[in-house]
């Protein structure tokens, strides 16, 4: 049990532990190189003037490449674990883990012209990677994301002094800077500057310039070092403690929220508690230090260590003389394993607090690094849990899972010495991302499967990345690579073959890309890429299979741009759906294109329709007629005799109408044939009407209709009466009555009533409201229904009501 506590350091009431993560590592680093280790047990970036090297936390080299650029002012890791460098002229360079240049951007003109003197790479308030720079003119510029590099200038601090001490402050949902100016602390945002109302001093009243500032992991506490060697610790509103250092500070970092770590040029290091208690450490001279969310990691030649606060359950269990339930449960479990009866005694001691004991052991196991310790604790937890009907099964299971993952990634071959808290901060999906970007595909898949992550987010996704990697690096011939990739991936809708294919296209392996795309099930991803790869015909086929018209249009317009008209028409001809969509598009947006396409296709019918439309879209009669001539030609070609005759008639009518307009100065154009004739009749131009009638072969019956309606409308009652004289009408005499009623001349209507048969006469009598006669007729026709409706309509006419009632009664009695 001793070995758990052997490195513990007591500070105030808390214990801190120094854990040796890896030893025999980083021993060959030379003094001139700089070293930055990423957060959450990230990778280590080592750079000197000539080379950049990426190492794992266990010192295994991942990649190394020659540095051909000017020296870096600052380097670091993005949140996606990519190396980021900031150069003197404000250029930000981003590489992949394996040394491939990815992208770059500039921090603005002023940075470029005036050069920068300091820079910071930080995790922004929204979780993206930000960059802040200080120019030689003492202005700050910032971007809050590497993806969206809009450079924003920070508030201009007019009064220039040396700002050598500054760091980004990213809580409260905004990105600001905390900086030391003289002995003051300032908060700087885009449009504002606040001087913090706190006194940085050691009580002696001696003010001296701030040389270093450092924020605690939660960003609520600040540690400041001044020129005079004072270490000041406080919050944003008040001082917590201070400590006078005896030599110059090399590294300053928070170890958790309560302790500040400083390493000095003298080779000593101090842990300073916020209460003011100090512990001196000897032989600690790190060359790199990383502040984590729950501690600090120190890299020194030969070693990689972690200093962190001993978690409460661990302390409770292992503290000397501890009688905590967890501690006793651990003893009970050990006694049980030794087959000692004491096990029972111990269990009895904590019977009432057994649940607490189990929880303590489970939690403590997660905080320890040695698998043997973890095992002891988990065994104890299991032992205790067996008395509790499985109360903590879930927590137990979860912890086993977490430990298995932690131990797997801590292995020196992998080199990710994560603590439980760091894993929680990083999240499991991001851990898998990191494994993927380190190309540790088998481990990533094993973890996904172990965590039962759905294939879309898990195994399939990893395989997709693997495939991209394979495609990029494989030196085998392209067909062979395609075969290898697809045999491993299978026909799997969860894997985006198009992503893999676009990778292949990116590295210039076109044939491979096309082959891979064959396996893609989603047309909306497949088609655009096929187009990019110059596979127009194939893209069109796939787009049509998908039924997605938007995609088809996309392909069609692309093909049109890339091919000569003749070639384009050839391609379209073979594809019915494509052709009809193209026709639709053209008829709305490209009439010239439509004509050439239809001509190509010998589609006379459609061409005729097209020129007919043109004819109607023109205001000039000559243009209209000439389009009609074209239309006729097309209809002749398409052997559509009926339509041809219609266009003939259209032309004839137009000519007539034009003449009529000239002659009478009234509007005739655009009237239908019937309306033209009707208008002539209304105006008394009977001869002209007759002429049109015979020319257009209007039947007698229809002509009679037109006459009746025209005479009615124009109230030519004598003409109407003449029509009725023939005693026999092809359309009956109802329409005669109707037109009179419509013209509001009921008297005229009466004249025709006698010509009607009785049923119609009754109907019209009702319509004319001649109820008395109607009632008699209804009686004669034995139409009770009609009588009733007369009754309803003459509510206020008592004599009528009487009459109808009498007739009704007569009818009923006669029945």
């Amino acid at each position: 049990m001793n070995d758990v506590t052997s490195n513990w350091i007591q500070l105030e009431g808390d214990f801190y532990d120094k854990v040796e993560l890896y030893s025999g590592v980083f021993s060959n680093l030379d003094d001139s190189s700089r070293l930055v280790s990423g957060g959450n047990a990230g990778l280590v970036l080592v750079a000197d003037k000539l080379r950049v090297t990426v190492l794992t936390a266990s010192g295994e080299q991942l990649s190394t490449w020659k540095w051909n650029n000017p020296p870096q002012i600052c380097m670091g890791w993005s949140t996606d674990e990519e190396p980021v460098f900031v150069l003197e002229d404000g250029t930000v360079l981003i590489y992949t883990l394996f040394g491939t240049f990815k992208t770059s951007f500039s921090m603005g003109q002023e940075a470029k012209d005036m050069k920068i003197i300091a820079a910071r790479i930080f995790s922004s308030s929204s979780g993206t990677t930000g960059v802040a720079v200080l120019t030689s003119t003492y202005r700050f510029y910032m971007v809050s994301s590497l993806q969206d590099h809009r450079v924003r200038k920070l508030y201009d601090v007019v009064e220039m002094k040396h700002f050598t001490a500054w760091c980004p402050l990213t809580h409260d949902r905004q990105n600001r800077l905390l900086l030391g100016r003289g002995s003051e602390l300032l908060l700087l945002s885009h449009n504002d500057m606040t001087v913090l109302d706190i006194q940085i001093g050691g009580g002696l009243g001696v003010e001296s310039n701030i040389t270093k500032v450092c924020l605690s992991p939660s960003q609520s506490n600040v540690a400041v070092v001044t020129e005079s060697g004072l270490l000041w610790i406080g919050s944003f509103t008040r001082k917590l403690s201070h400590y006078q250092l005896d030599s110059e500070v090399m590294h300053l970092a928070w170890c958790g929220e309560d302790v500040v770590f400083v390493s000095l040029t003298s080779g000593l290091a101090n842990l300073v508690h916020i209460s003011g208690v100090v512990e001196v450490m000897y032989g600690v001279s790190p060359i790199g230090i990383t502040q984590e969310c729950d501690g600090i990691r120190l890299i020194s030649p030969g070693f990689h260590d972690l200093i962190h606060k001993v978690s409460e359950p661990v302390e409770e269990i292992y503290k000397i003389g501890s009688m905590s339930p967890g501690s006793i449960l651990l003893m009970a479990s050990q006694a049980y394993n030794e087959k000692s009866h004491k096990a029972d005694d111990y269990i009895r001691m904590i019977e009432a607090r057994l649940d607490q004991a189990v929880s303590q052991c489970i939690l403590a196991a997660g905080a320890l690094f040695q698998p043997s310790h973890q095992k002891q604790l988990m065994r104890a937890a299991k032992f205790g849990n067996s008395f509790l009907q499985g109360f903590a099964s879930d927590a137990f299971y979860q912890q086993c899972q977490t430990l298995k993952i932690l131990n797997a990634v801590r292995h020196y071959k992998i080199g990710m010495p994560l603590t439980s808290d760091q894993l929680a901060a990083l999240s499991k999906p991001v851990l898998i991302d990191r494994l993927i970007s380190r190309r540790l595909f088998p481990l990533a898949i094993a973890i996904c499967d172990y965590l039962k992550i759905p294939p879309v987010d898990g195994k399939s996704r990893v395989l997709g990345h693997w495939a991209c990697y394979k495609v990029e690096t494989s030196t085998a011939d392209e067909d062979e690579t395609a075969r290898q990739v697809s045999s491993r991936l299978g026909l799997n809708a969860e894997i985006s073959y198009s992503d893999v294919a676009s990778k292949a296209a990116q590295v210039g392996k076109k044939r491979l890309a096309v082959k891979l795309l064959e396996h893609e099930v989603r047309a909306d991803k497949q088609v655009p890429l096929l187009l990019k790869l110059g596979q127009g015909a194939k893209a069109l086929g796939k787009a049509i299979d998908s039924g997605d018209t938007d995609l088809i249009y996309h392909v069609i317009l692309n093909l049109q741009e890339e091919h000569s008209t003749a070639d384009f028409h050839m391609i379209m001809r073979g594809v019915k759906l494509g052709a009809s969509l193209y026709t639709k598009y053209c008829s709305q947006h490209n009439t010239a294109g439509l004509q050439s396409w239809l001509q190509q296709e010998d589609d006379w019918q459609a061409l005729a329709a097209h020129s007919l439309k043109e004819s109607y879209s023109s205001g000039r009669i000559e243009t209209r007629l000439s389009h009609l001539v074209t239309t006729q030609e097309y209809y002749r070609k398409s052997k559509n005799d009926f339509n041809l005759s219609v266009v003939d008639e259209t032309t004839k009518l137009l000519n007539h109408q034009t003449k009529l307009e000239e002659k009478f100065g009234r509007v005739y154009l655009n009237l239908s044939l019937h309306d033209t004739v009707t208008q002539l009749l209304e105006e008394g131009e009977y001869k002209l009407a007759d002429k049109l009638r015979s020319e257009f072969k209007i039947s007698d019956r229809k002509y009679l209709w037109l006459k009746v309606r025209a005479f009615g409308k124009s109230k030519q009652w004598s003409e109407l009466a003449n029509l009725a004289k023939s005693k026999k009408s092809l359309i009956g005499f109802g329409p005669f009555v109707d037109v009179c009623i419509e013209a509001g001349c009921k008297d005229e209507a009466n004249r025709y009533l006698v010509l009607l048969n009785n049923e119609d006469k009754l109907r019209y009598l009702m319509k004319l409201e001649i109820y008395s006669e109607a009632a008699e007729l209804a009686y004669n026709l034995k139409d009770v229904e009609a009588l009733t409706s007369i009754e309803v309509r003459s509510v206020n006419n008592f004599s009528m009501l009487e009459k109808v009632a009498g007739l009704k009664q007569k009818l009923q009695s006669s029945r």
């Binding site: 879309v456 969860e494 039924g547 018209t549 938007d550 009809s580 639709k584 023109s618 259209t650």
Partner: protein
């Protein structure tokens, strides 16, 4: 309007609506500041079914406008949000809007522009926007709403042009949307185990669904199946059923006034003193004037409407007066209430009684308006001609009655409806008769309708005789024409057109008895393939046993639209006690014969001076 009733059915339409609503609100929330929505006009109504203005307001929408090429009204907001269907015209208008706004310099404030494409982003549109140089100043979103819930049993895609696009332009966009809609519905209501279909468009739709299923491996629905079967009906296998005048109450309202998004606009003056408004979201009209329109919601949450909507109009009057008697009897009870307790019971019933009274007033007024319009539009003449054609007496003759209508300036669309009916009933017209009808139309209404006639021929409405007697066979085998229809107490779906039973619904009915396999010969004389298939359900989602008393739920999906009469017929079938089937209806849009034919017209209008 309360939407609680949407979840009252077996399939949870309300959940489906909720999904769409969450979708739109989350997009709005992701756009910062206060925003103005600029609408593609055809979307205001449909989207309003999913998220009302009041809700949009709560999510930072300060005002709403219709999109217009003349420019944006001047407003001071952070964001302009366009909600549009993905088409080129809309993109061009947006581009013009943004450019003119930039030229104008705006209000000095920098506004952000956003486009929400509904239901789906479009590469084609994005390309267009790029070409007009405004793409950079836009943020693009996609709002995948494919189906709008009109009622507990009715979902519409609100794509009124789908039939035209399919048949005239060969543009299958609506089929793709329908496939997406059905996949989406299955995410919420579970996988539908049995699928049937008839017609080319149905077949295509089914194939696309299979394809999408493949794309979605790994994202399957985890809901137990709420719908037992899906029937896909291609409108083009049954054009005839769209044509006869619909004679149900709801059908007539749609024919005469036009129902959109489950509500109708009618002249407000007829409602007289009735000032109270049921719908909370409809703006309150101030003093009704003669031109003022009143919006009346029409859905099953109103009990009276639920009872009469499906009735033949001739049965509506008696039904309303029965209702009136029962309501006044209820009000009479107050005189009989003696004890305090009886009084209390009466008072508790009061609000619902008052609502019933008001609803009665509304529908009495609407029924009167329908009646007046029937007289005014000479609908009785039309019905006479329709019945003459349907009863198959003068199958293939040039009808004087049609000529009479044409000479009386009868509305063209309605005339075309009648001629189409005759053509479909006779399986095409003799060439001579066909030409005479065409001449009649062209001479009476103008030669500019030539292309419209051509379109109708292409879509299959007015065609030359094909030598078969399809309708004769169908009529006999499926009993499509009933001479004796009891309009008051119907026993068969033929009551919806008084003589004619819609073929589409008859086919759906045959699915239960005797089953499509036994009417193969009938299915084969209709155009397009017919098919049946099953979809695998994961074992853990299978309904172990459906209680016998629970009816089967069948979703009937119409590609190309369906009429209110067809819907009424399906609802009638759902209500039959012995049938044991509950129908859900999906459609690309709700149509009437007139607006269907109108969508097929090519308007040629010479410019006016």
């Amino acid at each position: 309007m309360s939407r609680a009733h949407l979840n009252s059915g077996r399939a949870k339409i309300g959940d489906f609506r909720e999904m769409s609503r969450a979708n739109i609100l989350s997009i709005l929330d992701s756009i910062h500041g206060n925003k103005v929505l600029v609408w593609d006009e055809c979307l205001t109504g449909p989207v309003g079914l999913v998220a009302e203005y009041s809700v949009l307001k709560e999510h930072g929408v300060s005002r709403m406008f219709s999109m217009s090429a003349t420019g944006l009204p001047s407003v001071r907001v952070d964001s302009i949000v366009y909600i549009i269907r993905p088409n080129v015209e809309n993109c061009d208008i947006i581009a013009a809007n943004i450019r003119s706004e930039e030229r104008r310099g705006g209000s000095g404030l920098k506004m952000d522009y956003h486009i929400i494409f509904l239901p789906k982003k479009s590469l084609f549109c994005e390309k267009r926007l790029k070409e007009s140089g405004v793409y950079g100043s836009l943020t693009i979103y996609e709002l995948p709403i494919y189906l709008y819930p009109l009622d507990t049993d009715l979902l519409s895609m609100e794509l009124p042009d789908s039939f035209k696009e399919l048949t005239l332009e060969g543009d299958p966009t609506c089929i793709q949307y329908a496939a997406k809609a059905l996949m989406q519905l299955q995410m919420v209501c579970g996988i539908i185990p049995r699928i049937y279909g008839k017609g080319a468009a149905a077949d295509r739709l089914f194939r696309l669904m299979l394809r999408m299923k493949q794309e979605m491996v790994g994202f399957e629905s985890n809901i137990k199946p709420q719908i037992d079967s899906l029937v896909l009906i291609d409108r083009s296998i049954d054009l005839l059923s769209t044509l006869p005048t619909q004679l149900t109450y709801e059908g007539l309202i749609d024919e005469l006034f036009g129902i959109s998004q489950a509500s109708v606009k009618v002249p407000a003056d007829r409602f007289g003193g009735q000032q109270q408004q049921q719908a909370g979201d409809v703006p309150q009209p101030t003093a009704p004037s003669s031109t003022e329109m009143r919006q009346v919601p029409l859905n099953s949450s109103e009990e009276l409407y639920q009872d009469i909507r499906w009735l033949n109009f001739n049965a509506v009057g008696p039904s309303l007066s029965r209702k009136a008697r029962s309501i006044s009897a209820q009000f009479q009870e107050r005189h009989e209430a003696k004890t305090v307790r009886e009084m209390k019971e009466f008072v508790e019933k009061l609000p619902s009684m008052q609502a019933a009274k008001q609803s009665l007033g509304t529908h009495t007024t609407i029924a009167e308006m329908v009646k007046d319009k029937i007289t005014a539009e000479g609908l009785m003449d039309t019905l006479e001609v329709e019945q003459e054609i349907l009863s198959y007496v003068n199958s293939d003759r040039y009808l004087d009655s049609v000529e009479d209508l044409a000479c009386k300036d009868y509305p063209l669309t309605k005339l075309l409806r009648i001629i189409s009916m005759q053509s479909l009933v006779s399986s095409g017209l003799k060439p001579k008769v066909l030409d005479m009808y065409k001449k009649l139309v062209l001479q009476a209404y103008g030669y500019e309708h030539l292309l419209t006639l051509q379109n109708l021929e292409k879509a299959g409405f007015i065609t030359p005789h094909n030598g078969q007697k399809t309708f004769g066979t169908l009529r006999k085998r499926l009993n499509l024409i009933s001479d004796i229809v009891d309009e008051q107490n119907p026993t068969d779906i033929a009551y919806v057109h008084s003589v004619y039973a819609p073929l589409s619904v008859r086919l759906v009915q045959q699915l239960e008895k005797p089953g499509w396999r036994n009417i193969r010969d009938i299915l084969d004389i209709l155009p397009g393939t017919s098919f049946e298939d099953t979809q695998q359900i994961p074992t853990h989602l299978k309904n172990i046993s459906r209680p016998d008393d629970q009816p089967k739920v069948v979703l009937v999906m119409f590609v190309g639209g369906c009429t209110m009469a067809e819907i009424a017929a399906l609802r009638f079938l759902s209500q039959q006690e012995d049938k044991n089937v509950e129908y859900l209806i999906g459609t690309t849009s709700i149509i009437t014969g007139s607006n269907l034919l109108q969508s097929l017209q090519t308007d040629l209008q010479p410019p006016v001076f």
